[in-house]
């Protein structure tokens, strides 16, 4: 009796992972099978909003096929476009559509695999949860410089913005600030991650990040009564949105093409959704 139940246990113990593995190829078969027999390296750089998706995709691909190596660097949209154009990387990510000049100069091919909002963020303990567009413009131009004027504590507002290469900054500046002024006293940080770290550490700070980067450490601010969520970005109610692009110089090689195909596959688009972005398919 005891012997039988032990045997049963052993069989179950070993069959559960077997079942699990057996079921894996069924769900993931199509996109990852393309990498079978391939080897080599895919170099990716550029937009920092893209990084969570790039990492998750790279992990899935590299664990399915260890012969493929994928390296991911940041730098910002400007860097991504420049590096892929100069042939330094295989994929240059950008959080804005490359300009006509850039496309014609480098012969870029654009692949838009997600839509992303850019949200105004403050510290989670900040009581200010909603702003109007004109308030936002006055905050970033320095006309409103104290949280007291917005119903918060009597503390100076610490502004955070991004560097010149940032696609997030480009979109925020055009669509949220209407190309309005950003005060020259504003602190400048170099990535979406650094922005999140700065805001989550500064109770009186205000900045902006890609919606996909928002978590418990920062609190997103509703703009003109519309909260920046996947739903409101998708429906177009939240206006500060952009496409996330991966760019290649001319037609991509077979390995890079497989990577891009993976991003557009159901598994890739699931990663996009899990990362807080809106899938395009």
């Amino acid at each position: 009796m005891l012997h039988n139940s032990l045997k049963m246990f052993v069989i179950m113990f070993f069959s559960i992972p077997l079942l699990f593995f057996a079921s894996m190829p069924v769900t993931h078969a199509d996109p990852l099978a393309a990498f079978e027999g391939m080897k080599g390296e895919i170099k990716i750089s550029g937009g920092t909003a893209h990084i969570p998706v790039m990492k998750a995709a790279a992990k899935a691909i590299m664990s399915a096929n260890p012969e493929v190596r994928i390296s991911i660097a940041g730098g910002g949209s400007g860097v991504g476009i420049k590096q892929v154009g100069e042939g330094l990387v295989d994929i240059g990510n950008s959080g804005r559509q490359p300009t006509e000049g850039e496309v014609s100069k480098y012969g870029l091919k654009m692949f838009k695999w997600a839509i992303d909002g850019v949200a105004v963020v403050v510290h989670p303990q900040n009581g200010v949860k909603a702003l109007t567009e004109s308030q936002l413009k006055e905050i970033f131009s320095g006309k409103i410089s104290n949280w007291k004027l917005l119903g918060g504590p009597d503390k100076a507002i610490n502004l955070y913005t991004r560097d010149a290469a940032s696609g997030t900054r480009e979109v925020f500046w055009q669509k949220a600030l209407g190309k309005g002024e950003i005060l020259d006293k504003a602190n400048v940080v170099v990535s979406n991650g650094a922005m999140k770290a700065a805001i989550s550490n500064d109770p009186y700070g205000i900045g902006y990040v890609s919606v996909g980067h928002i978590d418990d450490s920062v609190s997103a601010v509703a703009l003109d009564g519309v909260a920046p969520t996947m739903e409101s970005v998708l429906s177009g109610d939240y206006p500060v949105a952009r496409g996330l692009f991966s760019n290649t110089k001319g037609d991509p090689g077979p390995l890079t093409q497989s990577f891009l195909d993976f991003l557009f596959s159901p598994a890739g688009q699931a990663i996009v959704r899990d990362s807080g972005f809106i899938p395009v398919k």
Binding site: G75, G76, G78, V79, K82, E102, K155, A156, N158, Y160, D163, A164, A165, E181, L183, D184, K185, A186, N187, V188, V189, V190, A197, A198, N201, D202, Y204, G205
Partner: protein, 285 residues
């Protein structure tokens, strides 16, 4: 001369020529690429103007000022501590304590600056923000304190060196006259090591001028002229790191070579000055 001597001599000479040629080539490269700005008549406007790309103003004066304030603040903060530490190692506690300190300082020279920057963001920035309310904590002072930590090993090791070179007979004479350790240090060692101390300070200043990571991570990088030490400011090095990603053909990008040239000239002048003071100390009786 044997064959191996010949080979050794010329391979060493090739190495020497290479290492001399590279900095020179860098200088020529920057001068060539900066040439359009140097001759465009906008040189003064770029050197002495404010940075405001929306209004086509690409001045780097705020960054030059930020660089200087930051480097001087850092060295000023580090100087008394370094002097005390070097005195302890070389005179006040020359035993195991001094040897231990000396080893720690030597180890500190190898810590990457990004580590200092990272620690600063989480430990120093909140402290500065809460202690001196109003700012965001990313300020000249924050970066200067961390930078002081970065330059202190350079300064301490040079100070120790110059204290060690003070003639032993002087120390013995002072001791024979009944001088205390403090008297010996202040009236015999310090005056004798004056030029070595100056060289240490200048080398520390050079390191502070050239560091990128700490300023980029802690100083806030605002492009405005800083009004006080609690203001966010940008250094030339951080400016280069932030603008390098801009479009090749943009006027922002072209001014980078002027930033590079300015830094190059400043550090070269500093090194020349150090050489001069070192030579002076060598000739002292």
């Amino acid at each position: 001369m044997t064959r191996s001597e010949f080979l050794t001599k010329y391979s060493f000479m090739a190495a020497a020529i290479m290492s001399a040629a590279v900095p020179l080539a860098i200088f020529i490269f920057m001068a060539l690429l900066g040439y359009p700005i140097l001759t465009s008549g906008r040189l003064l406007g770029t050197l002495l103007g404010a940075w405001d790309p929306i209004h086509q103003s690409y001045g780097i004066l705020p960054m030059i000022i930020g660089t200087f304030i930051l480097a001087i603040l850092a060295v000023a903060a580090a100087f008394p501590v370094c002097l005390g530490c070097a005195a302890l190692v070389s005179d006040a506690a020359p035993g195991p304590v001094g040897r231990f300190l000396h080893a720690v300082v030597r180890m500190m020279t190898g810590i990457p600056t990004v580590v200092y920057g990272f620690v600063g963001i989480f430990l120093l920035v909140p402290v500065i923000r809460e202690a001196f309310g109003g700012g965001s904590g990313f300020s000249l002072l924050t970066a200067a304190l961390m930078l002081a930590l970065l330059v202190s090993p350079t300064m301490i090791l040079l100070f120790c060196d110059s204290f060690g070179r003070v003639a032993h007979t002087y120390r013995q004479a002072a001791a024979a006259l009944g001088a205390t350790t403090a008297q010996l240090f202040f009236f015999v060692v310090l005056p004798q090591a004056r030029n070595g101390i100056l060289a240490g300070v200048l080398l520390g200043l050079g390191r502070a001028l050239g560091d990128t990571m700490i300023a980029l991570m802690l100083a806030g990088n605002a492009v405005a002229f800083p009004d006080h030490v609690f203001d966010s400011a940008r250094t030339l090095t951080a400016h280069i790191a932030l603008i390098i990603a801009a479009d090749f053909d943009s006027p922002e990008f072209r001014t980078l070579f002027l930033c590079g040239l300015t830094l190059y000239v400043l550090t070269t002048l500093l090194v020349l000055f150090v050489r001069l003071t070192m030579r002076l100390q060598g000739k002292r009786p």
